[in-house]
């Protein structure tokens, strides 16, 4: 894939989203010095369960939540740290996001931004993590029904897998980069359960064209495909907020029609390149190598209508 070379620019907006820590992503995404954290690391609210497994803990449990400004608009933000326990949802990690979404009803921000970077549920706290995912999805539905857009940003090392993929599917809008993978079962999970003939997890090109950002954008699973920079995610998040759909029967009926049509059109496709060909892409094998600019130009040429109902 087309990695950005390490930048020599000092601007946080030019840094790689994929390489940045969750805190660096937040610092660059929001207006300078506007971020205020809730339950910051100084409070040391650490997992009560990981010591049972002799595992190290983090002062923030891999989830950073707070308030900030995005082009002077107040937003609530949550960022997962994929380098701690794979960004997985544990009890505290999940509860922080539940609280943030519930707070949105009182605070009435312009949007809630979720910076996904997760392998899914933390197995050492599986029942608490799974239940937290359900609480988060319910809280997103309530926030959206109250008119608050919930925007998901996907471009981290751990991707967005497992229950994280379902939470992402509940958001109003999704922004994804080349490095962002969005899926339920990850490649290794499918291979472990069904064998390498079903999914060879070492075939990185297969992983990227099945679960990666370009495929998700072409399929309509994400609304915007962006370069792997904090500045590109910031611009796309800003553009997504006013475009957020209502959470109502009309939206979900449109999504039902969109997902039924996808089964009809592509249900017999064995590979993403077949889907791209049917979408009208002349040279599907060239898609993975396209720059963001060339990919955007391709999207503009395709005869597809918008896939925005979600």
């Amino acid at each position: 894939m087309d990695w950005k070379p390490v930048t020599l620019s000092p601007s946080p907006l030019d840094q790689s989203w994929y390489e940045a820590s969750a805190r660096a992503r937040l610092a660059g995404l929001l207006d300078a010095d506007s971020f205020q954290e809730f339950i910051g690391p100084e409070q040391r609210m650490m997992s009560p369960h990981l010591p049972l497994f002799d595992l190290p803990r983090a002062f923030d449990d891999g989830m950073i939540v707070g308030h900030g400004l995005l082009e002077a608009q107040p937003v609530l933000v949550a960022a997962q740290e994929g380098r701690f326990m794979g960004g997985a949802f544990g009890e505290i990690h999940g509860a922080k996001l539940v609280g943030l979404l519930r707070a949105a009803l009182a605070v009435k921000p312009s949007a809630v931004l979720i910076l996904f970077d997760t392998g899914g549920v933390r197995l050492q706290e599986a029942n608490a993590g799974e239940t937290a995912i359900a609480e988060i999805m319910r809280a997103i539905a309530i926030a959206r029904a109250a008119g608050i857009p919930v925007i998901g940003l996907i471009g981290g090392r751990a991707g967005c897998y497992g229950g994280g993929g379902l939470v992402a599917g509940t958001c109003s809008r999704l922004v994804i980069s080349e490095g962002g993978r969005l899926s339920v079962s990850g490649p290794e999970v499918i291979e472990t359960n069904r064998g390498a003939e079903e999914f060879d997890s070492r075939d990185r090109a297969l992983v990227w064209r099945t679960m990666g950002g370009k495929h998700r954008r072409l399929l309509g699973a994400a609304d915007a495909f962006v370069d792997d920079t904090i500045g590109a995610f910031r611009a796309a998040a800003l553009a997504a907020i006013p475009a957020a759909p209502a959470f109502d029967l009309a939206t979900l009926q449109a999504e039902q029609a969109r997902l039924e049509a996808r089964l009809d059109r592509f249900g017999d496709c064995a590979d993403a390149t077949e889907i791209w060909g049917r979408l009208g892409v002349d040279d599907p094998t060239a898609v993975p190598g396209l720059t963001t600019e060339a990919f955007d130009a391709l999207l503009d040429r395709l005869p597809e209508g918008p896939h925005h109902a979600r």
């Binding site: 809730f38 609210m45 009182a106 992402a168």
Partner: protein
């Protein structure tokens, strides 16, 4: 562990006067009479994995109920496997299909159709989140056995011996499979009595269902999730305190 109550016995107990609920390809759809009105039913039977077609079909039935208006409650019967694990399901966007089913249930509930889950067999992972866990009240029958991941798989991932995990599972409900642990976590609110008619029990759940999501409070009271409720409440307080501070010009 008690035997699983079969789905036809559940339907007979729910609807002694008969019903129009059918089972095809592991998917349950239809409705039956309850308290002078109708109870819509969707579900998954026979430890069936939930894939893109199944999720899309069930979501369509839920949206039919919402479109018809009224206040018809929706019962979600669950004896499923996990999400279907395949390259094709993921290629076509399984995360969207599962989230869409959950959103349909959440929308129905928000628009006055109380949603009740009834877990009577297995369920796991994405299938569990998209169905039973997306309802307002989740009940279970003895013999149900939900899990996020079975202990041998947890042993593989955590690199801990299975015997160690089995010993740990006896003292902490937070990671181990099983109905009792999901009850302690607050995810399963109540276990129904299979020897009494299910219609009145489900009717009572609908009548008494809480307006808010109380699962973290249940998890605290039952000891399965010791800190989740306080963490969520603390985030809400800190967020509100900041807004109040700004209003005062702080």
């Amino acid at each position: 562990m008690p035997d699983k109550m079969p789905h036809d016995a559940i339907l007979a107990s729910l609807f002694p006067e008969g019903h129009a609920v059918t089972l095809a390809d592991g998917l349950i759809t239809g409705d039956g009479p309850l308290n002078g009105g109708r109870l819509a039913v969707i579900g998954i039977d026979g430890d069936t994995a939930l894939g893109i077609e199944g999720a899309c079909h069930l979501a369509g039935r839920v949206l039919d109920v919402v479109r018809a208006g009224g206040a018809t409650p929706i019962l979600v019967l669950i004896d499923s496997d996990s999400q279907r694990m395949s390259r094709r399901d993921e290629l076509l966007g399984l995360n969207e299909y599962l989230a869409h089913l959950a959103k349909a249930l959440l929308l129905a509930d928000a628009q006055g159709h109380p949603t009740i889950g009834l877990l009577y067999g297995h369920s796991a992972a994405g299938a569990f989140i998209a169905t039973a866990l997306a309802t307002r009240v989740l009940a279970a029958l003895p013999g149900a056995h939900p899990s996020v991941m079975d202990l041998p798989s947890v042993a593989r991932v955590t690199k801990l011996p299975l015997e160690t995990l089995q010993a740990m599972a006896r003292s902490t409900p937070v990671f181990a499979p099983g109905l009792d642990n999901m009850v302690q976590t607050g995810a399963v609110q109540v276990v129904l009595d299979p020897d009494k008619p299910l219609g009145p029990q489900v009717g009572a759940l609908i009548a008494e269902s809480p307006a808010d999501d109380t699962r973290d409070a249940l998890g605290l009271a039952r000891g399965g999730r010791p800190v989740a409720r306080d963490i969520a409440a603390r985030v809400v307080r800190e967020a509100q305190g900041m807004v109040v501070g700004e209003a005062r010009g702080a």
